[in-house]
């Protein structure tokens, strides 16, 4: 990453966990890094984060079949570049490191041609957890909170405890016989609290409740006026929001009861736009409140910025904004101020739904997928 000196712009390092120690890959061996995390719209689930890293393999060090003793990734005769290898991508500015991504090696493709390269694909913990199945129970058991249930699913999946988890969700859930994938049961908990589940940039399995959206920081302000402490953008993609209207929500509370809520003004304007939630909450009142919330949250379309593209190497042009940029996490807020050609000033307040980085030796492009900040809340 020749353009990134760690002082005027962050230094980027790809690190592998070698014998329990994070060990950096030679910087000049990294040809390209792609990172995608989160989701493209708020109505979707957070997807497994993925990172694809292309290495210059003239050294042969990035070939998993290379067990030469001179290969730095060979430990006790075994090449560690195998499935499940833990990796992270770290950006360091002013001596402070920030993780951009934390994942596990899933696939390696080696190009043994005249320009040898190795392309490694890494996935984050959601892919890891998605492979696990919650065992069937003879009788319905575990009437518990959403956070407890997610924690239990993580345990089934072999996810580490302690600091690798940050789970918040106090809504009670019905007992269950399980017999589904761990991720399916986690999504039930997410729907029960109208929250969000993702793997943080530090590799922490994170469950946040509905209330979390009212306490998130605003990390960046994108403008086109070069004002102090703002970031310039390359492209804004806006969306009128009508396509994503939801005005009827059906909440399935297991086999106990099914609640349907419909927001009639929106139905009158746009027709019925329905979505179904599998949320086995413990009480009828919570199920009804969930249905109300989900039928109202997106019932009125708002124009919003769907995607912001910007050059990360220019983040520090109008202020010492690299720490804020590098700290930005899924569900954090950003805002965009745009002065139109006809002189109007428009501001969008947004939630970061997903983020993508494309990093080469000389360039670093970032895209945030965003949605409009949603003010609706319920008591559950």
């Amino acid at each position: 990453m020749s353009a990134f000196d760690g002082i005027t712009s962050p230094a980027i390092a790809v690190q592998f966990l070698k014998s329990g120690t994070w060990t950096s890959v030679t910087t000049t061996d990294v040809i390209q890094i792609d990172i995608r995390r989160g989701r493209t719209r708020q109505s979707e689930r957070d997807q497994a984060g993925i990172s694809v890293v292309v290495f210059n393999n003239t050294s042969g060090y990035y070939d998993p079949d290379n067990t030469s003793v001179s290969n730095p990734w060979v430990v006790s005769g075994t090449n560690i570049l195998r499935d499940g290898l833990q990796m992270r991508i770290v950006a360091t500015i002013g001596g402070t490191p920030y993780n951009l991504y934390y994942g596990f090696l899933e696939e390696t493709r080696v190009n043994q041609g005249e320009a040898p390269s190795s392309t490694m694909t890494f996935v984050d913990g959601i892919a890891y957890i998605a492979d696990a199945q919650a065992p069937a129970l003879a009788t319905s058991s575990f009437a518990e909170t959403a956070a407890t249930r997610v924690g239990r699913m993580l345990t089934y999946a072999g996810w580490p405890s302690g600091g690798s988890r940050s789970l918040t969700g106090t809504v009670g859930m019905l007992a269950t016989t399980q017999n589904r994938s761990c991720m399916a049961l986690i999504y039930q908990a997410v729907d029960a609290i109208a929250g969000r589940f993702y793997i943080s940039r530090n590799g922490v399995a994170t469950l946040v409740p509905l209330a979390d959206k009212f306490s998130r920081p605003t990390q960046l302000l994108f403008t086109d006026n070069q004002a102090s402490n703002t970031v310039g953008y390359m492209q804004l993609l806006t969306n009128p929001g009508t396509y994503y209207v939801v005005n009827q929500a059906i909440v399935n509370r297991g086999e106990a009861k099914q609640y349907t809520s419909q927001y009639n003004p929106s139905v009158s304007a746009y027709g019925i736009a329905k979505t179904v939630f599998d949320a086995p909450v413990a009480t009828d009142s919570n199920a009804q409140n969930l249905a109300l919330y989900e039928s109202r949250k997106l019932a009125t379309p708002d124009t919003y910025v769907e995607r912001i593209d910007f050059n990360a190497l220019a983040v520090g042009t109008y202020g010492l904004l690299y720490p804020d940029f590098l700290s930005t996490e899924l569900a954090d807020q950003v805002s965009v101020v745009r002065t139109t050609y006809d002189g109007r000033t428009i501001q969008w307040n947004l939630v970061v739904e997903g983020m993508a980085h494309n990093i080469t030796q000389n360039n670093w492009m970032v895209s945030y997928t965003t949605s409009a900040i949603n003010p609706y809340s319920i008591t559950i």
Partner: protein
């Protein structure tokens, strides 16, 4: 906190209003295909159940069931052509396992606990009988009879017990690492040796401790009551408090140490009398060393009482004061004494008995009396720190010589300090030289007068 302006997202709580239509239903859960296939419907006249000891032979239709009442209600299912056992296979497995377990149990040795020898068998080789009215004595069935036996040494290789109660332990040797006993009661504890790292006892009461040696760095005792303590050295680092008795040839009293013959007290340091008087009575000889540096020094408010004798040039006075003993033993240097009236008297000796190589002064060139003609005769005042203000000579011009000038002109008449050089001039040298000069001038005068 990030540097950019913070957006405040104010919550709007969604509540049920007229804008909403809310419905709730209990969902219908359809049966699965597999469940439907396994539904068995019992209909009168279609399927029958028989309870009897023999298999029904007529009137059966497919699906009928028969409980064989004399075979543990074993269950059969009529296929349309025959009765087929549908007994739960796990029951048969359990029966088989139980039979095997019974067989195994029957083959195990038995243990009898009773007062009489078992007579009702069958017995197996190795069966045990505890004779409960004979303190549970062991018997083992072997060769067709129960025979008493004892546990061998290897059977009790290690005996781990919190308490061992025995009237008597009859053993030639009991080897233990620790005997923790509230009391060891014995007529005699006969031991060739009690080897103990420490014998910790508040009191050892013994008529006699007979020992060739008590080897100990210290013997701590409030009292050592002994008719005799014979030791090469009695070394004490604390006060040896004794007001009577004898040590060697000396008799101890409460305030003095006396000897029947001569008494010699050697000291390389100081005999300190403290705040009280230290008095030597009788014919005490106090001698310093032969060298100048080994002087006998008396400091403080000390006195010699009575007839004190100082060896060497013997002198006897009624009262005597001296800061340095060497001045006492050297007749040539003299010493200060007090007369009976308390005045200071200076004295020395000039007897021929103390002299040799006696010649005329003028025969020695360096002692030429004419040199004195060059000696300045001065007048001066003493410094304030030399005489007290009340002294008659204080701040008064005094005639005399200067020792440094005497040293330069007639050095034999100069007295020296050990560290400061010329200190005084000696009139016992100056006067003879002056007399020689006068004699020489008297001779010249008489020659000039023609006598």
């Amino acid at each position: 906190m990030p540097l950019c302006p913070q957006i405040t997202n104010t919550p709007i709580t969604v509540t049920l209003t007229a804008d909403f239509t809310v419905t709730d239903v209990v969902p219908v859960v359809p049966a699965t295909t597999e469940d439907v296939a396994n539904v068995v419907v019992l209909v009168d006249g279609k399927t029958k159940a028989y309870y009897q000891t023999t298999a029904p032979t007529s009137g059966m239709t497919e699906g009928d069931i028969w409980f064989d009442t004399d075979d543990g209600y074993k269950l059969y299912y009529y296929t349309g052509s025959a009765w087929t056992s549908v007994q739960d296979t796990s029951i048969a497995a359990a029966q088989s396992a139980a039979t095997a377990a019974q067989t195994t149990a029957d083959g195990k040795n038995k243990i009898y606990r009773q007062t009489t020898m078992p007579t009702t068998g069958p017995f197996s080789e190795g069966d045990l009988w505890f004779d409960t009215d004979d303190d549970n004595r062991f018997y083992r069935y072997t060769s067709g009879a129960f025979s008493a036996f004892s546990l061998g040494n290897n059977a009790i290789a290690s005996l781990s017990a919190t308490k061992l109660t025995a009237g008597t332990i009859d053993a030639s040797v009991i080897t233990v690492s620790n005997i923790n006993a509230g009391n060891i009661s014995t007529g005699t504890l006969a031991a060739a040796r009690i080897a103990a790292g420490s014998l910790d006892a508040s009191k050892i009461t013994a008529g006699t401790i007979t020992s060739t040696q008590i080897s100990s760095s210290y013997v701590y005792a409030g009292t050592i009551a002994a008719g005799n303590i014979t030791t090469g050295t009695l070394s004490a680092t604390v006060s040896l408090a004794a007001v009577s008795g004898t040590i060697g040839g000396f008799t101890l009293a409460s305030t003095y140490l006396s000897g029947s013959g001569g008494f010699t007290l050697y000291s390389n340091g100081i005999i300190d009398g403290g705040l009280s008087n230290t008095i030597f009575y009788g014919y005490a000889n106090i001698g310093g060393g032969p060298a100048t540096g080994e002087r006998f020094i008396v400091t403080g408010n000390s006195s010699f009482v009575g007839q004190a004798i100082f060896s060497g040039n013997t002198t006897s006075q009624t009262h005597f004061f001296s800061p340095f003993a060497t001045n006492v033993t050297s007749a040539a240097n003299g010493f200060w004494v007090t007369s009976g009236s308390g005045r200071m008297t200076y004295t020395t000796a000039s007897s021929q008995r103390y002299k040799h190589d006696i010649v005329d002064l003028v025969s020695i060139p360096e002692y030429d009396p004419k040199k004195l003609l060059n000696l300045p005769v001065r007048a001066f005042r003493y410094n304030e720190d030399y005489v007290t203000p009340t002294d008659d000579r204080a701040e008064v011009l005094i005639p005399g010589f200067i020792a440094e000038e005497v040293d330069a002109i007639y050095p034999i008449a100069c007295d020296y300090s050990e560290t400061k050089g010329p200190e005084s001039w000696n009139d016992r040298v100056i006067l003879p030289a002056m007399l020689a000069l006068i004699q020489e001038q008297e001779a010249r005068i008489q020659a000039l007068e023609g006598k």
